[in-house]
């Protein structure tokens, strides 16, 4: 839904590639676990608090992102760039910063596209933006920090090198595009509760995120085979 994410402050560009690589199987497990935790979030909301996205969107969204966020941070911080220069705790710290700034940019983008402004929408918007930030910003900040060249290469030029970058940028784009499409039913006069902001957009974003994960996985396996063939 947003393309605003490119507005990072200029940072020191660390162009050395000493990153941790990940196998296709590892990528599969990472995606599986993140996807499962989303499901866990929905399960907890339904069975423990007996709410769902429609009846209490802000609470459910908060639950979702607070379950998903630690997991994403823990996983992606171990794939940080230049692990010898950047400690694990530093990666965790910067991803918390990334969560907040990403949420801010997501809110700005959503408002620019017409998200309603008002006190009754504020908690929903905030929690939605945190969830979006977990999908889009947090993995990238955990891995790259504030390295503009890396961000630019991965997100703008779309020239990823290595599996981990596929795992970051395709689901992120998926979540944004899914959210964009999720906004479409909102003006229709079907008078369904899920047409309210941000329910359909959240569904779209989650759907897009999962589609993005699948696409990235298939790309990773396809490219690996391609490479192997080349090598052979």
């Amino acid at each position: 839904m947003e393309e605003t994410k490119k507005k990072k402050k200029p940072g020191t560009s660390v162009g050395v590639s000493g990153d941790v690589s990940i196998s296709a199987l590892g990528a599969f497990f990472v995606h599986l676990i993140t996807g499962l935790f989303l499901a866990v979030g929905f399960w907890v909301a339904r069975n423990k608090y007996s709410v769902d996205l429609i009846s209490d969107p802000s609470f459910t969204l908060r639950l979702l992102w607070s379950i998903e966020f630690p997991l994403v941070v823990i996983i992606y911080s171990s794939f940080r760039k230049n692990p010898e220069k950047c400690s694990y705790s530093k990666a965790v710290g910067r991803s918390i910063l990334g969560l907040i700034s990403g949420a801010f940019l997501n809110v700005m983008g959503a408002i620019a596209l017409g998200a309603p402004i008002g006190m009754q929408y504020l908690p929903k918007t905030i929690h939605w933006s945190f969830l979006m930030s977990v999908f889009t910003f947090v993995p990238a900040t955990a891995v790259y920090g504030a390295s503009w060249t890396d961000w630019h290469r991965v997100f703008a030029s779309m020239k990823p090198s290595g599996n981990i970058e596929y795992m970051i940028f395709i689901p992120a784009y998926g979540a944004m595009i899914g959210g964009w499409f999720g906004a479409w039913p909102m003006p229709l006069d079907w008078e369904r509760p899920w047409q309210e902001w941000p329910i359909s957009v959240s569904y779209g974003a989650i759907g897009g995120y999962i589609v993005g994960q699948t696409v990235s996985l298939s790309l990773i396996t396809f490219l690996r085979k391609h490479k192997n063939l080349k090598v052979a």
């Binding site: 393309e3 490119k6 408002i111």
Partner: protein, 993 residues
């Protein structure tokens, strides 16, 4: 490889495409919205005479006393009127099925049991009920009009009735008023809108609060006891809205329905008991008629043409006709329009002129036989008069005054024949048969004094056959859609769309497939915003099929435009390169994009009404609630900023021409006048000083036209690069156009809209800020984006796809006498403020482009000629808006055709189609201005070329001091001359359109 288009061919094809489109559109519109010929005036004494007789002058009819007129009518008609009072009870939205059942079956048990009294009346033969088929649109006001005037109005009649809602056509209530009836109305306020000043007493309720199902009817019923005891009225209209509200909130099977039907039944009982009591006391008879204006669907909606919605009720109580059983009392079919002639005959007034209904069979049973035939004759004459207006008079050649009476009709034997042939001939033949049989019966009756039953029934049947056919034919004239016309129109529109798109594609190929560009072609074609801009029309084509998407179109426009801004932002961020450090140009660009985003969001928030979400809070409502003082202050501030921004734009070119100063002075004066006007503006619109408004119109048109005419002359004596100079001039003219349009809108629009005008101006300036030299956005993308922004702004100014949001108040500013054309033009200007603004700003855009690319243009096209360059500059700004518009128009025409039986065809799709047509007109005007403005340059260039070729022959040297453009001209005089001729031709072609 296609041959490159010359600019003459391009222009010819474009003009041909537009021409085709206009023709196709008009054919389609006249096919889809037929305009029936109506007769003006009201029926009077003449309606009791043979239509083929010369109209004898009715000298002092208008001065006749109402009572005398009534007696005269009665005498002329020869029908004694039994009733002197009429109670018309309208139950809004009651389907006839609730009372009469369906397909010969009695109504459902729940409904039948809720109306015990009415059902007993039907069973006893005291009442006779009809399924009265209503014509779409099944909404209250047109249906009431149909009932009282007997005419089926076309959609355009409804749509173009901006000025007044009053029913001006001949109608029953007007006729009753003329014979001095006193009328009372309680219920829906629609009656008061239709007949202002006609009612002696009234208490109106509004149908606005749909949730209110109780109070709305209680307000009517509380008058009932008093009114029934009064004897000062002749016509009592009771219009109950509650049942319709019940339907809207809960559908046909709403739990409230039974109690509402019971309530209606109680009203019927009260009225009937009172009426019979009066009758027994021999005070003249009261006729009680219960009608509904339309039915409802299962879910309780109405507006369309399904059986459930058109199945309205017509129930006569107290006719005294002999009805044998329940089935005969309920299983009758009629049309809603039949009420008008029936009531006219029963109460002894002339049948309204444009009536297409026929007498309801079974209502005249209590009349004597000669009266019945006379009534049918009067109805036939009236329909025949209406037909005469629509058929060539040669068909009526054989008839002459009273010829049937004397058996002296030329060429029409007095024998009865079967009627064949086409519909028109058949109608004439049927009428002749009926008239002949009637005269036979009359002559026999005179001689034998005892009427023969057989002749009577033959004449009756013949009249009924004629009336039925004629009524159907007349009704179909107003509702039928000629397939041939529609097909022709749609195919012409389709063809023109194909022409436009092909032209665009060929131009596109030519521009972007040049060898120079081939290197970066991939990046040219695969840009995300290019794809997006191409996808937008597609998205709209798809979304137009859904009625709620049409209603909420402003969401889509804003969503698309905002996405485009974000894509621009993404692109700018993509080209970020921190190694070069901060760059002023880039920061300027970023600032432009952010101002686009912010102003776009504010515009969206300003009016977010639409149709279904009108209750949502938005900025304009909030400001109006805060107080008019704030609105005024905001209006003053934004007007001031608009003026200063405009002056800034004028002086940005840094040209020190005198004319710029004159222009600036003119605009400042206008701005001052507008500020003054806004300052004095009080809450009522009629305080507006006409003189000031006229002065502002004059000044603004002088400034805009003067700029366009005078500026090109000022560039002659410059020795700068010619194209850059021309670009400067065009830029100035464009900004003069834009500014004068903005100032005009500040005057015309509602005060609350002054901020959106400012925001739109800011958007235009921001977009022109984006088109700096290193702009990576393709030209056509930018033009398309401008078009989209114009449409988004159209909705931001509070417009929607219903006709209700058109600002009528502003259309009378500065007009001293009422003139439909002038106010229509003003209304168009107000409604299309934003699309027109963005189209006018295209001139500015061309100027800026020419200036920025003057060097590259010359170098790139050194091997071609200047005509090509002109084509490339003017081609996109003209073709892109035309293309987008024709795609949307074509798609929407097809959608309308597919949706012609849709529930919302009259309430949603047809008004939207009117808007689409108006947008097309707006696009034509805008493109015309864009194409014509550079015409001045062409004439001047023509002069310059001649001067230079003269110089070339006399002087030696090739353009040492004449600048790039001149150098080119000097080196290739012949070629260039030809090409400029071509340019001149092209523009003249456009002018010819």
């Amino acid at each position: 490889m296609t041959t490159a288009m010359t600019c003459t061919r391009l222009t010819i094809y474009t003009v041909a495409g537009i021409f085709l489109q206009v023709i196709g559109l008009s054919i389609f519109v006249f096919g889809f919205f037929p305009v029936k010929p109506t007769l003006s005036g009201v029926s009077d004494l003449e309606s009791y005479r043979d239509p083929f007789c010369d109209s004898a002058p009715n000298p002092n009819e208008s001065e006749l006393h109402p009572e005398k007129l009534r007696l005269l009518y009665q005498e002329l008609s020869g029908i004694s009127s039994k009733y002197d009072r009429l109670i018309l009870m309208v139950i809004d939205g009651l389907p006839a099925e609730f009372v009469l059942g369906k397909d010969g079956q009695p109504p459902r048990k729940a409904w039948k049991e809720s109306m015990p009294y009415t059902q007993s009346l039907l069973a006893n033969g005291d009442a006779i009920g009809y399924h009265a088929k209503a014509a779409p649109p099944t909404v209250t006001m047109p249906r009431l009009k149909a009932m009282v005037s007997g005419a089926i109005g076309g959609f355009l009649d409804v749509a173009f009735n901006f000025n007044t809602q009053a029913l001006l056509d001949d109608n029953l209530l007007g006729q009753f008023f003329r014979i001095g009836w006193k009328m009372v109305m309680h219920g829906d306020e629609t009656w008061l809108k239709l007949f202002p000043g006609l009612f002696m007493r009234h208490d109106s309720v509004s149908s606005f609060f749909v949730k209110d199902t109780v109070q709305v009817d209680r307000n009517v019923s509380r008058h009932l006891p008093n009114e029934l005891n009064n004897d000062d009225w002749n016509l009592l209209i009771l219009h109950y809205l509650g049942l319709d509200h019940v339907g809207h909130t809960g559908g046909r099977n709403s739990p409230l329905m039974a109690s509402k039907l019971k309530e209606m039944d109680d009203v019927v009982r009260t009225m009937h008991l009172k009426a019979t009591m009066d009758h027994s006391q021999d005070e003249g008879q009261t006729l009680l008629i219960i009608v509904s204006d339309h039915g409802m669907t299962e879910s309780g909606n109405h507006g369309g043409s399904s059986y459930e919605e058109t199945d309205s009720l017509m129930l006569f109580i107290g006719l005294g006709s002999n009805i044998s059983d329940y089935a005969a009392a309920t299983n009758n079919v009629a049309f809603q329009v039949d009420l008008a002639p029936t009531l006219a005959i029963l109460f002894g007034v002339p049948i309204p002129k444009n009536n297409v209904g026929v007498l309801v069979p079974g209502t005249l049973d209590s009349l004597r036989d000669y009266e019945q035939l006379r009534a049918l004759e009067l109805n036939s004459w009236q329909l025949l008069r209406l037909m005469q207006a629509q058929l060539p008079s040669s068909l009526f050649g054989g008839f002459s005054c009273n010829c049937f009476l004397y058996g002296a009709c030329e060429g029409l034997g007095s024998d009865i024949n079967e009627c064949f042939g086409d519909k028109e001939k058949q109608l004439i033949c049927l009428f002749k048969n009926a008239a002949v049989l009637h005269s036979i019966w009359k002559s026999k009756k005179l001689i034998e004094s005892s009427s023969s039953m057989e002749d009577f029934s033959r004449a009756l049947d013949a009249y009924n056959a004629f009336l039925k056919t004629a009524s159907e034919w007349l009704a179909s004239k107003t509702t039928e859609k000629p397939v041939l016309l529609l097909g022709l129109g749609v195919s012409a529109i389709l063809l023109s769309c194909v022409v436009c798109v092909t032209l665009f594609l060929s131009l596109f190929k030519e521009v972007y497939h040049e060898p120079k560009d081939r290197v970066c072609r991939g990046s040219h074609l695969l840009n995300s915003e290019d794809v997006f801009v191409l996808a937008v029309p597609l998205i709209f084509v798809i979304s137009m099929g859904s009625s709620s998407m049409v209603e909420e179109e402003h969401y889509i426009w804003h969503f698309m435009v905002a996405t485009f801004y974000l894509l621009l932002l993404f692109k700018t961020a993509k080209s970020f390169d921190f190694s070069k450090g901060m760059n002023i140009l880039r920061d300027y660009k970023l600032g432009s994009i952010f101002s686009l985003l912010i102003s776009g969001r504010l515009l969206k928030g300003w009016h977010q009404g639409g149709v279904n979400w009108t209750y949502l809070p938005d900025i304009s409502k909030w400001l109006e609630q805060v107080g008019s003082g704030y609105v005024k202050r905001i209006q003053l501030i934004s007007s001031f900023i608009v003026i200063s921004l405009g002056l800034f734009t004028l002086f940005r070119t840094r040209s020190k021409r005198k004319i710029v100063c004159v222009l600036a002075f003119g605009f400042t004066t206008c701005g001052f006048l507008i500020l003054l006007h806004a300052w004095r503006y009080q809450d009522d619109m009629f305080e507006v000083s006409t003189v000031t408004a006229k002065l502002i119109y004059l000044l603004l048109s002088i400034s805009a036209i003067g700029a366009a005419l005078a500026l090109p002359w000022s560039m002659l004596n410059k020795d700068k690069c010619f194209l850059a100079e021309a670009g400067d001039c065009l830029y100035l003219i464009g900004s003069a156009y834009t500014l004068s349009w903005c100032l005009l809108q500040l005057l015309l629009q509602q005060p609350i809209n002054s901020v959106p005008i400012l925001l739109l101006l800011i958007q235009i300036l921001a977009i022109s800020g984006l088109s700096s030299k290193d702009s990576q956005v393709n030209e056509w993308v930018k033009i398309a984006a401008l078009y989209y922004m114009g449409m988004a702004g159209h909705f931001a100014l509070g417009n929607s796809n219903t006709l209700a949001t058109i600002d009528v108040a502003g259309a009378f500013i500065g007009i001293s006498s009422h003139s439909t054309i002038l106010s229509g033009i003003l209304m168009f200007m107000i409604t299309y403020a934003s699309p027109m603004l963005f189209l006018l700003s295209l001139v500015m855009h061309i100027g800026a482009y020419l200036r920025n690319h003057s060097h590259s243009t010359i170098s790139a096209h050194r091997d071609t000629n200047l005509g090509e360059a002109l084509k490339l500059r003017l081609g996109f700004p003209c073709l892109v808006p035309l293309c987008i518009n024709s795609i949307l128009l074509t798609a929407y025409t097809v959608v309308l055709l597919l949706m012609r039986n849709h529930l919302f065809v009259w309430s949603v799709f047809s008004p939207k189609y009117l808007y689409v047509c108006a947008t097309t007109l707006c696009t034509y005007i805008g493109v015309f201005v864009v194409a014509v403005t550079p015409k001045r340059f062409i004439f001047l260039l023509f002069l310059v070329i001649h001067a230079i070729s003269f110089l070339e022959t006399t002087l030696i040297g090739n353009g040492t001091c004449l600048g790039d453009g001149a150098a080119l001209i000097v080196t290739e005089p012949a070629n260039t001359c030809r090409s400029w001729f071509c340019g001149g031709d092209a523009v003249l072609m456009v002018l010819g359109d």
